[in-house]
Every structure is written in C-alpha cells, then in structure tokens.
C-alpha cells in the first residue's frame, strides 16, 4: 500500500463489493417477511388473550427485545443442532443439518429478534385503532376474524408503517452480524477483501458508503409509502 486512499483502488473495491448488495437485501427482505408473519401471530395471540399461548407470546417479546441479536443468531446456530440431537438421540440429524447454509440460521436468528420488536409495534398500532370499531363490526354481525382482518388490521397497518420502515432499516444494518456465522454477505465479503489486500480503511469506507446509500434509498421509499398510505388521514383531517 504505497498510495493513501487511491481512487482507482477504491473503485475496484466498489465494483467487487456491489455484487454482494443483493445478498444483504435478500436476507433483509426475507427476514422481514418472516418476522411480519411471526409478529402478526404473536400479536393476535396476545390481543385475544389466548390462555397459555398469550403468556408465551409475552415472554417471547420480553426475551426477544432483551437479547442482543448476535446472541440470538448464535443460539440458533449452535442451539438447533443440539436440540435436534436431543430429540432424535443420535448424531444423524446433526449431519443432515450441516447441509443447511448458515444464511438460514442467520435469517432465523434475525427473524426472532425483529419479530419481537414488530410484535410491540403491532400491539401499539392495534391499540391506536378506536375500540368502537370492533364493537360496531360485532354489532352488525361480523365474526371476530372478519372484523379483525377486514377492518382493524388495515387501519392498524397505516399506523404501523413508519415504525415498520424504521425497523426494516435497523434490520438492514443488523444483517451485517450474519458474517459471524460465516455468511458471505456485504460485510462478510468486505472482511475477506480487507484481510486479503491488507487495506482496512479503504474497504470499510466503501462498505459504509454502500450501506449508507442503500439506507437512504429505503428511507425515501418509506416516506413516499407513508405519504400514500396516510391518504385517508389527510382527507378526514381537512
């Protein structure tokens, strides 16, 4: 390294690393979809106060928010093979698991982490929908399911969108932790590149810029989405 922050070298790094942006995005989007489903399930269980499952949901949200995502990923990565061994009593299932790519474990760990946060967001959003709405639907003879999915959820979704976008941005940044269990996404690739070329400063500057620009794109997207979704709020407030 004779030249400090050589622009040609920076461009080379950029060309190499931009190929890994889709992997990071895929991991983030996939995790987001799964954690939305998980959070929705947990929220409904807590909202309806289902006897035991609702309590389990409470405990899950408490733990999911109190644990660093790093530890959740490690628990998924090291814990599931042990769990399977305990259930089957042999080492065979662990052998089977070694065929699963580590990115699946990363997605699972991040899903558990994000799901807990989203469950709290959904709970807040549901509370912000007027109680009279549910009463009105039930009084006109809708079943609880119809009322929830047709009337309550669409309104709650509007409230939840800004916070969900925020959570997605957090998740996008959180995917960088996946490299700890040998997933080669943007940050993992950057690490390999940095130690191969012994050029830490340059590589991490480029990586930071890639993450930064991705975040800014999604921030803009979220604000457009929020503006469009809040149409009915703007109309009623006029």
């Amino acid at each position: 390294m004779d030249n400090f922050l050589d622009p040609v070298f920076l461009l080379e790094i950029f060309e190499h690393l931009i190929k890994y942006v889709p992997i990071t995005l895929g991991l983030a989007v996939g995790t987001m979809i799964m954690s939305c489903l998980l959070a929705l399930m947990v929220t409904i269980l807590r909202y309806k106060k289902v006897p035991i499952l609702g309590k389990i949901g409470d405990i899950y949200v408490l733990l999911g928010r109190a644990l660093p995502s790093m530890i959740l990923i490690y628990l998924a990565f090291f814990g599931i093979p042990v769990l399977l061994m305990a259930v089957s009593g042999t080492n065979k299932s662990a052998m089977l698991l070694s065929g699963i790519p580590p990115i699946a474990f990363a997605a699972l760990g991040l899903t558990l982490h994000t799901g807990a946060y989203l469950a709290e967001i959904f709970r807040g959003a549901l509370q912000s929908v007027n109680v009279g709405q549910t009463e009105a639907e039930l009084s006109i003879g809708m079943t609880w399911n119809q009322a929830f999915f047709r009337i309550i959820l669409p309104q709650a979704a509007v409230f939840a969108t800004p916070m969900m976008a925020n959570q997605f941005l957090n998740l996008l940044k959180g995917t960088s932790i996946a490299f700890m269990i040998s997933v080669i996404e943007l940050f993992g690739a950057a690490n390999v590149l940095a130690s191969n070329n012994n050029a830490y400063l340059e590589v991490y500057i480029v990586t930071a810029c890639l993450y930064w620009s991705t975040s800014i794109c999604f921030e803009k997207l979220a604000s457009v989405l929020e503006y469009n979704l809040s149409y009915f709020k703007r109309c009623t407030s006029k």
């Binding site: 950057a190 400063l201 500057i205």
Partner: protein, 232 residues
C-alpha cells in the same frame, strides 16, 4: 461429548463469565457519558442552525444512522491505525483496543442521542427560553439552567432505551480484540465444545442487565416527576 446439554457446566461456567461483566458495564457507562455530551452539542448546533456546522452535523447523523454499527466499529478499529500511521505515528497498534471501542461507541450513540435530544429540546415550551432571555440570562445559562434540565426530563424514557441498545451493542466489541464475556465464551467453548451452555449464560446476564437499566430508568422517571409536581 457425553450428554447433549450439560446443566452442570452451565452453572459452573456462570461465575467465570460473570467476572467479565465489568468490561461490558465500563464500555456502556463511558460511551454513554460522552455520547450524551456529543449528542447535546450536535442537537444545539442543529437547533440554532449555525451556518455550515449544522449541515456537517446533519450529514454526520445520517451517516451514523445509515450504516451498521459493525461497519463503523471496523472502520475505526482497523482503519484508524492506518490513518495514524500515515500521519507519522510510530506504532498505532500499541493503543489498546478498548480506547477505539470507547471512541466508536460514543460517536455511534452520539448520533442517535442527538436526534433524541433535538426532539426533546424542541418539545420544551418556547416561552421558557424567551422568559429566560427576558430576565437577562445569557444563551449559555438559559440552556444549562432552564431548557436542558426540562429537555432531559422528557428524554429519560428515550435515553433509557438508548442505554439498553448500547448495552446490547457491547456484545459485538469482542470482534476487535477486546476481551469481554463473548470472547471468553468463545475461548471456553473451543475447549469444551459447549457453546450453547455458555451463550445461554451470557443471555441470562444480558437480560439481568437490561432489567436493571429499565428499573433505573423507571425510578429516575418517578423521581423527576415528583419533583415537578411539588413545584407546580
């Protein structure tokens, strides 16, 4: 490997891991202290719209919020020695890693606290500032004596959340060579092949710490609220 999950080993290794908790607490406290100072300075710069500086602060906050903590950590911990070397420092690797960690954590949390403080300073009634100015206070004393104490009281819940997230980010600092609970667990795990037990131990420690922080926040909130009610 005899049993699949050894409860005994989990209990036995708990004190060893707990003895490393001081690093986690030290990093959290030190970086949160500097982050609050930095956050207040940035927030005041942006609110008072000091020319050019507020643009710099806006870009800084956007950068901190737009890039992962790990990237910032690596950028400073591995990139900084390179910069220091370029500017003629003899042996930048001799600086202990924990100092770099203090720097990164303060800068990172400072960016987030800046937004929290900006919100809560703006939430303080405008009349307070005007009243303070009208009785002849300078800008500095008006902020430190009137506006900031009120802003801090409003910011306590958000700052508590921030302390929790700082606490949780400390699980990542072992990546740059600081020996904390995570590093110790990794070392112990490579001897005993019992990673799961060790990480469950750490999870328990983190839950306790988060719980304590939340308890502290709630108590602080209650104290400040009582003071307020006696005044009014």
């Amino acid at each position: 490997m005899g049993t699949i999950f050894s409860f005994e080993y989990m209990i036995k290794s708990f004190p060893t891991l707990l003895s490393m908790v001081d690093v986690t607490i030290l990093v959290t406290v030190v970086s949160e202290f500097f982050a609050i100072i930095l956050g207040c300075i940035i927030a005041l710069t942006r609110i008072n719209a000091i020319r050019l500086l507020d643009k710099v602060c806006a870009v800084y906050v956007s950068f901190i919020r737009g890039t992962p903590f790990l990237v910032q950590l690596y950028l400073i911990c591995f990139g900084m020695p390179q910069v220091l070397n370029y500017f003629g420092m003899e042996n930048p690797r001799s600086i202990p890693g924990i100092l770099y960690v203090f720097l990164v954590m303060s800068l990172h949390e400072g960016g987030y606290i800046a937004e929290i403080m900006r919100g809560s300073i703006l939430a303080v009634d405008k009349g307070q500032m005007e009243a303070a100015k009208s009785i002849g206070m300078t800008g500095y004393s008006a902020y430190t004596r009137v506006v900031l104490p009120q802003a801090f009281r409003m910011a306590i819940p958000a700052l508590g959340n921030n302390v929790v997230s700082t606490l949780k980010s400390t699980a990542l600092i072992f990546n740059v060579g600081v020996v904390d609970m995570m590093r110790r667990a990794e070392l112990m795990g490579s001897f005993s092949y019992r990673h799961l037990e060790l990480y469950i131990d750490i999870a328990v420690i983190y839950i306790c710490l988060c719980f304590l922080v939340q308890l502290g926040t709630m108590m602080l909130e209650r104290c400040t609220r009582m003071k307020n009610s006696t005044v009014s």
